[in-house]
């Protein structure tokens, strides 16, 4: 049986879709069978980031409403044959997703795939709670700033209360993915420090993704950043995060903190 991962955040625009695609591709790259499900009904985005927008025929809502078979709606990635996408509908509204329908689809996907990655919409309402509903693992995407951290904290509360696992009295595995980390801004002190974010959210960290033009470039060519340029800084950070998700233990480096002790002292003084 595959594992279900929800990529969630509360706050919008923090990098959920970017991270779903990058992590999914990284896991598929090592041969695992991966499907990424776009739960952002009405605002579908994942197909663009994956470069599959012209190949969308059926979507998640069609499957749930019995208008298409799951196999008809799944789109295989052109670059990685173990990577699949289940797109969201652009035309329907959010209420088209039913809890029963979602459960049926996820159960079926778990049978076929090693990883089912659910790209959650922003917010803490129905769309977000449906996306997290059947997750075994949550990747909480957070930017190092106050409002994002607070929203993530709310989402963690929901993960511990509103998921099927929580209702069965089990605990959902939660990981923090810090994205859009800007080392220049961190040095100037106008971003929360990694330690502070960790202390507030108190869940384990699986990666710090630097703010980088490479992410934009990748999305412009319609490829997950881990496939567009595997040796770019964000891609390498996503590859490491994917390995940690799969259970490996690796040290985490804070982007931009490779300078020696001298540079550090200087940086602190300037701050």
């Amino acid at each position: 049986m595959g594992k279900v991962i929800v990529v969630t955040s509360g706050k919008g625009g923090v990098g959920k879709t970017t991270s779903s695609a990058a992590l999914g591709a990284a896991l598929a790259h090592k041969g695992d069978r991966v499907v990424i499900v776009d739960f952002d009904v009405g605002l579908r985005n994942l197909d663009l980031v994956m470069g599959a927008e012209r190949r969308v025929v059926y979507d998640l809502v069609n499957v749930i409403q019995g208008e298409a078979k799951l196999s008809q709606a799944l789109i295989r990635d052109k670059r990685l044959e173990t990577l699949f996408l289940l797109p969201a509908s652009q035309t329907r509204d959010k209420d088209a997703l039913t809890p029963e329908g979602v459960e049926t689809v996820i159960t079926e996907l778990k049978r076929v795939f090693d990883w089912v990655i659910c790209d959650s919409p922003a917010g803490i309402e129905r769309g977000a709670t449906l996306a997290m509903r059947h997750a075994d693992i949550a990747v909480v995407v957070t930017n190092p700033e106050v409002s994002s951290v607070r929203d993530s904290d709310r989402i963690i509360g929901l993960l511990d209360a509103k998921t099927a696992k929580a209702e069965r009295g089990e605990r959902i595995e939660k990981h923090l993915l810090l994205t859009r980390y800007d080392s220049n801004r961190a040095e100037r002190g106008d971003m929360l420090k990694v330690d502070d974010v960790l202390e507030i959210l108190s869940i384990p960290l699986i990666g710090i993704i630097p703010e980088s033009m490479d992410v934009l470039r990748a999305s412009n060519i319609g490829a997950p950043v881990t496939l567009a340029d595997a040796r770019s800084a964000p891609a390498m950070a996503y590859f490491d995060a994917a390995r940690r998700l799969a259970g490996e233990v690796l040290p985490i480096t804070i982007p931009g903190e490779k300078r020696g002790i001298f540079g550090k002292i200087f940086g602190r003084k300037a701050a």
């Binding site: 904290d153 709310r154 507030i200 108190s202």
Partner: protein, 244 residues
């Protein structure tokens, strides 16, 4: 013939109790409202969706003044669910209903179980109704209280093993113990208990209250920030000191 009810289903009536916030304004209202605005501004969302009862006992006001006061509340989006202690003559059409018998929960609690100090004074307790005394209750929360969550326990003490997030709150009838960072709101003695205290390992609170007396983050000595702190009540003042 008598009329027979064809539908055998009965109507379900359930009782439910809510912890309401009681506001007791004093005169002049302008000053009091300014203080309320100050409190509301600094504790974002505190009154949102919370049942609020207006206590006007012993206030020498007439109907027009009460009406004005209610208008001030509705302007602030504070919805008053009832008015306590109002002479019938000042209540008018379209006002929230008069509430009676809404004793603070503390009255009941004290009546049932003689006060907490008994534990320190076993000698005195003999004179009280010992057999009716129930042990003070407590609950332990073993994980962080997350933003948007509330822990409400009017029956006694709340202990949190973990932090209380900004935007989260812990409301206890007794004392509040936080073995972590207190970033949100903590209210001890929430149903009337001036001897309740607040303890935390690291003080970053947004709002603190003991027995209805409030203190905001800005009102606190900067030397307490980030420190292990305990707070208690002396008269109408919240006192605080660092714990070593």
């Amino acid at each position: 013939m008598t009329k027979v009810l064809t539908d055998a289903r009965s109507i379900r009536i359930k009782g439910r109790s809510f912890l309401a916030v009681v506001l007791s304004p004093d005169l002049p209202f302008d000053d009091w409202l300014a203080r309320l605005d100050d409190l509301a501004a600094r504790s974002a969302g505190f009154f949102l969706g919370r049942p609020v009862v207006l206590d006007v006992t012993d206030l020498p006001i007439d109907r027009a003044q009460l009406k004005e006061l209610l208008a001030e509340f509705s302007q602030r989006n504070v919805s008053i669910m009832g008015i306590e202690g109002a002479r019938p003559s000042i209540l008018g059409q379209g006002m929230p209903p008069a509430l009676k018998g809404g004793r603070p929960v503390s009255d009941e609690a004290v009546a049932k179980e003689p006060v907490i100090e008994l534990q320190n004074n076993p000698a005195d307790s003999k004179s009280a109704v010992v057999e009716s005394r129930q042990p003070l209750q407590s609950i332990i929360i073993r994980e962080p209280v997350r933003s948007g969550q509330s822990v409400i326990f009017p029956e006694g003490d709340v202990t949190v093993i973990g932090s209380v997030a900004s935007g989260a709150e812990v409301i206890a009838g007794g004392s509040v113990h936080i073995y972590g960072t207190l970033r949100g709101r903590a209210m001890a003695g929430s149903v009337g208990n001036a001897s309740a205290r607040i303890f935390c390992r690291k003080m970053e609170a947004e709002l603190l209250a003991i027995d209805g007396i409030y203190k905001m983050a800005e009102d606190m000595a900067p030397s307490l920030r980030g420190k292990p702190v305990q707070l208690w009540l002396e008269g109408d003042t919240i006192m605080a000191e660092t714990l070593i």
